[in-house]
Amino acid sequence: MNAEHDNSGSTVTTTVLGADEIILNMGPQHPSTHGVLRVKLKLDGERVVGSECIIGYLHRGVEKIAEHRSYQQFAPYVDRMDYVAAVSNGLGYCEAVEKLLGAEAPPRARVVRTILTELQRIASHLVWLGTHALDIGALTPVFYCFREREEILKIFEKYCGARLTTHSFRIGGLQYETYDGFEQDVKRFCEDFAQKIDEYETLLTENRIWVGRTKGVGILSAEDAIALGVTGPVLRASGRKWDIRKAFPYAAYDQYDFEIPTGPAGDTYDRYLVRMEEMRQSRRICLQAIENIPSGPIMAKVGKVLKPPPGEVYHSIEAPKGELGYYIVSDGTTQPYRVRVRPPSFINLQAFDRMARGALVADVVAIIGTIDIVLGEVDR
């Protein structure tokens, strides 16, 4: 059902035993391609000698839709791109439009946005960790991860009524005030979460099999990463200390202390460690932010009908997967003339071929997992 028999591709190579190179078609329905990614692998035995990613199965034309919606109407659509980190998508879009308008969200809104986005980062990384471990054969962490993610989703639900595609922010600020007990909920989660991360790490970090499966697998040097446009944790694990939260602080990130973890070797294990540390740092940001949420309005005065002056703007945020950018062109009407999304997954996925070459089939799933793609965002 899944394997395509690409006989034309099975060229006979003249190796010693006359062993064939076979074309293995992974996906679009495969348990560990994280959605509907299709990878065509050229294998020599079990070793990958070439690969091609075939994407687009989830293409919904988000950018085209944007041109036929008003600025506010389009906001919910962005949640459907990286549906694992909808809040981050929303933040990027709202801030981009605010920038286009020349408006600015009030401080209270910015802090709440920061908290929710960081919670979302933790949730996204938890999904990554669980599925990544599952791909590598560890069956148990995924349930622990989803247990904690559930707590985060509950906070989202209490805040805005939705769990997954939240549409929690509005252009100009927030629609909803925080609910009573928001601070306590976040605080309780953050306090519990510290030991939960340790729990995951006891299962994985020093496990010989885990280390064997991830160390030295899918190495991506910093030069390659930059040449391939890779951003986010994947770039950081390659040793480049770059995070948009520090480089171009947005929301309220300039008010908080946090570290940018980096990895030395750029292999799957380093990416694992980097993301684990990022979860800790996100927790730290949340704890700092929750201590002191400024009071005041939550919505800037942007008006009901948004008509940004003609012009264009590019605004990007550090989404859990990398740099999520919005390039919006306005022609002065109520609908954006062009919305371009710079999806981190799409561009990071491009590095797959570089990372997978020479690896084994088993490494392929580890590499797909470690890039942390969401096909909704790759295909848009």
Partner: protein, 229 residues
């Protein structure tokens, strides 16, 4: 917007280079001053700055202004006429260049100006214009912590030089651009559709493409359903 020193003000997009340069137009001094130290530690003042209730956004708003900093001067000195125009829109530097020179300018930007990350490559369709496409390259320099946007006009059937061998990441981005707009990149190793099926007719993000003109034949043949509304 100028009097709206958001927390993004200090560090963001194009500051580093132009700060020393003819500190351009109606920017508040604050921004220029904060810019040179590139480690973007924009610090409290910006954040604490009261979000001044912006004037009704419909009337006044950010407007593109001409830009003339050192980077632009260097570019102009090097490429002359190929640098058509440089503007600053919402504090973001945009350089309009000749499409034919795209690869050379890209290489120069990468090697000499250290814009080593091609953040994004896309296009915008302006069907009424003589050269209908804007090719947009968003660059980023780790060294300067600075962004730069290259923009080139391209006519419908005009081949644009590919920048894949400058930034390998342009591979998929150019394919997507071709897929969505039908912009042909010359020198691309494998220019084919990426998101849409290979046999699809039409380029969806063009302005003259809509639900009535889309490829219903493909859908009927391959999926066995009637598409559209």
């Amino acid at each position: 917007m100028a009097n709206d020193p958001s927390e993004k003000g200090p560090a963001p997009e194009p500051p580093g280079g132009k700060a020393e340069g003819a500190a351009v137009p109606p920017k508040p001094a604050g921004e220029g001053a904060a810019a040179p130290p590139k480690p973007a530690a924009p610090a409290a003042p910006a954040a604490a700055a009261p979000p001044k209730p912006p004037p009704p956004p419909k009337e006044t708003g950010p407007k593109p202004v001409p830009l003339d900093n050192e980077l632009v001067q260097r570019l102009k000195a090097r490429f002359g006429d190929a640098i058509r125009e440089a503007t600053l829109d919402r504090k973001q530097a945009i350089v309009l260049i000749a499409a034919a020179q795209l690869r050379e300018i890209s290489r120069y930007c990468r090697d000499e100006e250290k814009f080593d990350l091609l953040t994004d490559l896309t296009a915008v369709d302006w069907p009424k214009r003589e050269k209908r496409f804007d090719i947009i390259l968003n660059l980023y320099s780790f060294n300067k912590n600075e962004r730069l946007r290259l923009k080139a006009h391209a006519a419908e059937n005009e081949a644009v030089p590919s920048v894949v061998n400058v930034w390998p990441t342009a591979d998929w981005l150019e394919r997507e651009c071709y897929d969505m707009f039908g912009v042909v990149f010359e020198g691309h190793p494998d220019l084919k559709r990426i998101l849409l099926p290979d046999e699809w007719q039409g380029h969806p993000l063009r302005k003259d493409y809509d639900i009535l003109t889309q490829d219903t034949a493909w859908v009927r043949e391959n999926l066995g359903i009637e598409s559209g509304q």
